[in-house]
Symmetry: C2
């Protein structure tokens, strides 16, 4: 069997952890967002890829939800001596990853190749594929009209400001990775992970050709709502959806995904919306989706897989 996941950061990483418990990790592939990658201090930083890798390696910091556990921040403290840019905190061990990635990219390796090497380093057996080896950059327009980079919005401003739109610079020109396309096309089930629809999943779909390939296999695709009880479990997805003029409910999520997936998995708490979602032409499965509870991620992956496999 093959189980492929369109993935952003934390929500996708937790889902993937469930998938590798449920299935042979060699059958699990994630096609990961790269539009919030950023070059800081000359180093190439790929937050979503690293969150997935570190989570699957069981090395993620469980409190922060990003970076490595038992981390120190001495380089950052030293940087402050010079008044350096320190709003994007890079741990000392985490820096090892960025140093390695940057060196390999300078040497001419693709991001796909480097990501495989980094996964090997951690013994991660699932396959993580950047959606493209080309750079894509999420830009966020604030309520004030100013446009800034995604990490500036997300980290520097702690996503505490109103936004009016997002765009993915370079996405249309970006070539989807051959491996990613194949993983989408050949999957028994394709899952849209419970990641931020606007800034994690959309920039994966926006890469030239990806959305069409996803749509073409809609009946075997299963989306998991990142909105539970009208709120994002982590991050600003709920607020962002509202600010972008959408509904921050499972129905809003269904509107986003109705052309892409035949099935929407929602949390039990949102069962009341099932009818509205079915009216949009999607099948609804209501199960526990809050993956901080033990066993939920694994059961969710099993549910999703069954829902995608043709009967």
């Amino acid at each position: 069997m093959k189980h492929t996941v369109l993935a952003g950061g934390v929500g996708a990483a937790r889902y993937l952890q469930g998938a590798v418990e449920a299935f042979d990790p060699a059958d699990v592939t994630a096609v990961v967002n790269v539009a919030d990658d950023v070059t800081l201090h000359g180093l190439r930083v790929c937050p979503d890829l690293d969150t997935c890798t570190y989570t699957l390696a069981e090395a993620i910091d469980p409190k922060r939800g990003w970076g490595l556990v038992n981390e120190s921040f001495k380089a950052m403290a030293a940087l402050r001596r010079y008044g350096g840019l320190d709003w994007f905190s890079l741990g000392d061990q985490d820096l090892g990853t960025h140093l390695y990635r940057t060196q390999r990219l300078i040497e001419g390796a693709t991001l796909t190749e480097v990501t495989a090497e980094i996964c090997d380093g951690w013994g991660v057996r699932a396959t993580l594929l950047p959606v493209s080896d080309d750079p894509i950059e999420t830009r966020v327009t604030l309520g004030t009209g100013e446009e800034i980079g995604f990490q500036e919005y997300f980290v520097r401003l702690a996503h505490s400001v109103e936004i009016s739109s997002v765009r993915f610079v370079g996405a249309e020109r970006a070539k989807p990775s051959a491996e990613a396309l194949k993983a989408i096309e050949s999957a028994e089930t394709l899952v849209i992970a419970p990641s931020n629809p606007a800034v994690s999943i959309q920039p994966v779909l926006a890469v030239g050709g990806i959305e069409a390939v996803v749509r073409a296999r809609r009946s075997q695709n299963v989306a998991v709502s990142p909105i539970v009880g009208g709120r994002a479990l982590k991050g600003p997805a709920d607020r962002m959806l509202r600010e972008l003029g959408e509904q921050a409910t499972v129905v809003g999520v269904a509107r986003r995904y109705q052309a892409l997936a035949a099935t929407l998995v929602i949390d039990e708490i949102d069962s009341e919306f099932a009818g509205e979602i079915e009216d949009l032409g999607m099948r609804v499965i209501a199960v526990p989706t809050v993956m901080s509870e033990p066993g939920v991620a694994r059961a969710l992956a099993e549910t999703c897989h069954r829902a995608g496999v043709p009967r």
Copy 2:
């Protein structure tokens, strides 16, 4: 008064420490070699500048002679997980310096500007000036005929192989920094620090225009021999000079510097060579020069300054 020093790494740094004890640090300027700078993992690393800065900040690791005291190496350990390039060890706090420098260079700052900012961060009051803001790269040809970068020779191979020549790629085209030229021209005394003549001082002189400006004021220039009793106090200067077909003695040093400085300061232990050096047209001053002994660096700086000031 103004006291300017042509500087490489450790020997120069110790001399500068003596100079800021002897004089008002605001009067002390170092024109520093940049030809062993290297880009590693995308980060710009400037070993000689940093050794001078950290030494003047009293933050250098006294045991290793490079990098910061109380340093950890977690990023490097993490890099090894991936089999990354780890022969040039960058400490976690030291990485803060390279992150800052790289970010500022990307933003368009000159190396001269960034160096001033880094010195400010450490409260270093002497002025450190890269000889040029342009990149220069020392390349070393080994006895085998293979040519490699300086840090590969110096660090990766621990300078344990025979060399046949060195060259400074980009030196002739490099524009000397206006500040460095002015510091050389306006100095009461110009000191050639006891650094490796072949790979620390020569690439400073090789920058277009620098050697001519130094020669033009020969009578006020004072060189300090890095060779004591036929040996380099640190590093491979003695072996390198021999391998380049020169004498690894104070006389060999005098031959290198006779057109550049009117005075050569040698260690007392080498007094026997005074006549031979005077025959080359240089005045000789024999004093203690081993700066690991307390008070020697300060006295040496005072001696040098007096020797350069016209009477």
